[in-house]
């Protein structure tokens, strides 16, 4: 007698990764040199843009043939002033009026904190072969959950913050987990699902801010202030915004580095990401891997939401995630989907944010230049493989070469 038995309900993993996945994989796993070059080239082009839009440069170029040096020196001073201001704003600016204002480095660290968390989220998922575009939605959910217990409850110090952190992680994990679950059970592509979940998250938070989570004393869709016990302690006193979330972020980097490089779970994730068929043959549960990695990834992004609401913003509004969830993708890209690479890339982007304002104010350069430079970085990181695939230039890797 034979019985019909259903084993693994998993959709079998693709035999060969698609062209697109291959390209993304190549972009994400290139070497650090390309990252550094991308930043340098982006800054150079940004510099050119700064120069050509500077009225002093165009004025000097009017008599270029009479006095070429004047043009060149105008260009030089235009660029050096702008980037000088950017650098000083992001690190140390002796000319600032207040001494707090002089130490831009702490603003850099403050901005970097949520980027570290969310960059790690993208990095981790990517190593398991998933492109998590949904950090934005996961941050929003994390902030919403963290906020709900942060201003909705009053608990003793420390305990309250811990509850807030856990709630935020949970919110993000749920949002990431949905994408992981759908991928594992139905094969739904995580890129599409996470993009959709981003839209749902923003609509959801808006709805809640108009109803359950609304501050009764305000006419705007904004929540009440977080309870004082629910906030990250400030690391350097009230003069600086840098908060204990940074320490948690650094711990997260160490944790993710350990997870990926030293743990059996990370071994599984990397195997699934690199060759799901071989992973399955070796007894790994690919679908379970997809679900758990998206839970952890979502939790990390949720912590970025916690850093926002319990660190800097202190109340929930629909702008809580800013563009962090999207910058996170660039940060992970620039960090070559390595935990410490992501950390340094997040610092760089934090510096752009902190220094951008100073550049706009002190050198009178549009803050949009920062956005342009950031976009150029993405372009140049993506360009070598893009160019290679367009022009069919040989790859240095052995992949595809016969054995």
């Amino acid at each position: 007698m034979s019985q019909q038995i259903e084993t693994a309900k998993t959709p079998s993993p693709p035999a060969k990764e698609s062209e697109g996945t291959h390209l993304v994989r190549e972009i994400m796993s290139g070497n650090a040199v390309i990252s550094v070059l991308a930043v340098v080239v982006a800054l150079v082009i940004g510099g050119i843009l700064i120069a050509v839009t500077d009225p002093r440069v165009s004025a000097a170029s009017g008599y270029f043939f009479a006095d070429p040096m004047a043009t060149l020196s105008a260009i030089w001073s235009s660029i050096s002033e702008a980037y000088g201001a950017l650098w000083r704003g992001a690190t140390y600016d002796p000319t600032a009026r207040t001494w707090q204002g002089q130490l831009g480095i702490f603003e850099t660290l403050t901005f970097a904190t949520p980027l570290i968390f969310s960059g790690l989220a993208v990095t981790l998922a990517f190593r398991a072969g998933l492109f998590n575009i949904g950090a934005q939605g996961q941050i929003i959910l994390g902030a919403t959950f963290a906020g709900a217990v942060g201003f909705g409850m009053h608990l003793p110090p420390v305990v309250h913050l811990l509850v807030v952190i856990l709630a935020g992680a949970l919110g993000g994990a749920i949002w990431g987990g949905i994408a992981g679950f759908l991928k594992a059970k139905t094969g739904a592509h995580e890129v599409i699902v996470t993009i959709m979940l981003n839209y749902i998250a923003i609509s959801l938070v808006l709805y809640l801010l108009k109803n359950q989570l609304k501050d009764p004393n305000s006419s705007n869709p904004i929540s009440p202030q977080m309870d004082a016990n629910a906030l990250f302690p400030l690391l350097l006193g009230p003069n600086f915004r840098v908060h204990a979330g940074l320490i948690l972020a650094i711990l997260a980097v160490i944790g993710v580095a350990w997870l990926l490089n030293r743990s059996t779970l990370g071994f599984e994730y990397r195997a699934i990401g690199a060759n799901p068929k071989a992973a399955r043959t070796a007894g790994m549960l690919v679908s379970r891997g997809y679900i758990t990695v998206m839970l952890i990834s979502g939790a990390l992004a949720g912590l970025a939401g916690v850093a926002q609401i319990a660190g800097t913003e202190k109340s929930l509004d629909s702008e809580i995630a800013g563009s962090i969830g999207f910058d996170a993708i660039t940060v992970a890209l620039l960090g070559r989907s390595k935990p410490w690479g992501t950390f340094f890339a997040a610092l760089l982007f934090g510096a752009f944010k902190a220094g951008g304002t100073s550049m706009a104010v002190n050198a009178d350069v549009s803050i949009d230049i920062v956005a342009v430079v950031q976009s150029l970085i993405v372009l140049f990181i993506a360009a070598p493989p893009l160019i290679r695939s367009i022009f069919r230039i040989k790859e240095s890797r052995r992949e595809g070469v016969s054995a």
Partner: protein
């Protein structure tokens, strides 16, 4: 067209994969390269095809030095290459695949497929390839896909064709067809560089044989040279081409498959009511033309199939319905048919690959944390024991030569106590010296009392290893015959005759011959 390689040297870091290699391929010649796994054959061909830049040395075509900065240059110079892993887009048609990379476009960049289609038809007709330009590549059998690769090269007017282990994935029938194609190409003036580990093929088809050992040319041989001589020239020592194997001493029947039926997702019957058992200390060799259910049989044991009925018992435990991990933990050693797709993670190190299905076990990990020192030490031992040719066990597995990748998979699966060893194509792409070693290891596993199942499309390997031989045809078991059965009998069974009918037919033939003689 005459091709000459002069002093080609290619190093990867400290490793010299090609060391001042000189090679002349005359016009219209079939030139075979023989060499151990990791000798540097593929590397040399990749240099010739413009995929690698040589560290030193030059390439001359018709006595003119040429420089290739990529395969496009090599193709333009009349060199075509068929890689062991085909570079075809499965969802494209034959014509689209052929057009890819050498797009023939009309003004304005519109793809001109009709042109390509006509060319495919023309080439296909000229050489009797029998390939439909509008067929989807994914629907084609491996042998035909390979022909598409050859057509790709011929449409680009290749005068020199590189075939790197083309027969490793072919059935004997397909191999014969390929040989025929090669002869026709040769008659047409095309030169062919042919790489294979099957000495019989090399002897049958070559005009010249060059032997490479550890990156250096160590000599050339006439096709008339005996197989043993070729083997020892290659490996540098005498190789025993026939396996000394004591008769099996079968113990209990611990592995039993009963009424196993496997259906595809589309509801097709892949295995149809199969029942057999394997005893401790016995090798069951499973023969059959590729695609008759052998792959499904091994995958069903491992728990990779969804629609499965019947029973698979190992040591009194039911395996059907268990997860892959549980099956492996029950003591099954599994070598998949396709090492690159299923057996290895290419970007992982050799050391990591050697614990790919053992990483959860102590001492390789504890409390969820991998023990790198132990994993590294394990790798050193396995690399030495199985003679994996590599610079370091920390190198990525995809830097290994094909045969060495295979050794890594076998080393992993044979390196723990087993209750069942099941291997598909265990020596695919492996050189004769290593085959000798691997076969010995498999027999040693048997002699240690493990039931062993070997699936192979190589009749030689089946006859060499099998204590009993099972033949599959169209998902059905044609019967199980003794290990010393004749090739004719196996041939008939592989063509779909049940064992008793096949035997009867052979007896009948013998009887008629007797009758005629008297």
């Amino acid at each position: 067209m005459k091709l000459e390689l002069k002093g080609i040297t290619k190093s990867f870091g400290a490793l010299v994969a090609n060391d001042h290699i000189d090679l002349v391929v005359e016009s219209g010649e079939i030139h075979s390269l023989l060499g151990e796994n990791g000798a540097g054959k593929s590397t040399l061909m990749n240099v010739l095809y413009g995929l690698y830049e040589p560290t030193f040395g030059e390439i001359l075509i018709d006595d003119q030095p040429v420089k290739f900065s990529g395969p496009a240059d090599a193709m333009a110079a009349g060199i075509g290459m068929v890689h062991q892993h085909f570079m075809l887009v499965p969802v494209f048609t034959v014509a689209e695949n052929v057009a890819l990379g050498g797009e023939s476009t009309t003004f304005g960049g519109i793809l001109n497929l009709n042109d390509t289609r006509a060319k495919v038809r023309e080439v296909s007709a000229r050489f009797g390839f029998n390939v439909d330009p509008d067929a989807l590549v994914e629907d084609l059998p491996v042998g035909v896909q390979q022909r598409v690769e050859i057509i790709k090269a011929l449409v680009r007017e290749a005068k020199i064709l590189i075939l790197d282990e083309p027969t490793a994935v072919l059935t004997p029938q397909e191999t014969d067809e390929l040989m025929e194609i090669m002869r026709q190409l040769k008659a047409n003036g095309t030169s062919i560089v042919f790489i294979s580990h099957k000495l019989r093929e090399v002897k049958a088809i070559s005009d010249t044989i060059t032997v490479i050992r550890r990156g250096k040319v160590v000599g050339s041989a006439e096709p008339g040279t005996s197989t043993t001589e070729l083997a020892s020239l290659m490996v540098g020592r005498a190789v025993n081409l026939t396996l000394d194997k004591a008769a099996a001493t079968p113990g209990d029947l611990t592995f039993k498959v009963s009424n196993l039926t496997v259906m595809s997702d589309a509801g097709q019957r892949l295995l149809d009511d199969i029942s057999f058992s394997v005893a401790d200390g016995e090798i069951l060799a499973v023969a059959g033309v590729q695609g008759n259910g052998q792959t499904e049989l091994t995958e069903a044991v491992l728990g990779l199939h969804k629609h499965i009925s019947g029973s698979i018992m190992l040591d009194g435990n039911e395996l059907v319905g268990r997860s892959v991990r549980q099956v492996l933990d029950a003591g099954v050693g599994f070598v998949p048919e396709d090492r690159q797709d299923d057996g290895l993670v290419g970007e992982f190190s050799i050391a990591e690959n050697l614990v790919l299905d053992l990483y959860t076990k102590e001492p390789y990990s504890r409390w969820g944390s991998m023990n790198r020192a132990v994993i590294g030490k394990n790798a050193e031992e396995k690399v030495a024991e199985f003679d994996v040719r590599t610079q370091s066990a920390q190198d990525a597995a995809d830097t290994l030569s094909g045969g060495n990748q295979q050794k890594v998979v076998l080393a992993r699966e044979l390196s723990r106590p087993l209750k069942l060893f099941i291997a598909s194509q265990p020596t695919r792409g492996v050189d004769v010296g290593s085959i000798e070693f691997l076969h010995k290891r498999i027999v040693a596993e048997r002699d240690a009392g493990t039931p062993v199942i070997i699936v192979s499309t190589e009749l030689d390997e089946i006859l060499e290893l099998g204590d009993r031989i099972a033949v599959l045809f169209a998902g059905k078991l044609m019967g199980i015959v003794p290990g010393k059965s004749s090739r004719e009998l196996l041939g008939l069974m592989m063509a779909g005759l049940p064992a008793n009918e096949a035997q009867a037919q052979l007896d009948g033939n013998a009887a008629t011959m007797e009758g005629e003689r008297s």
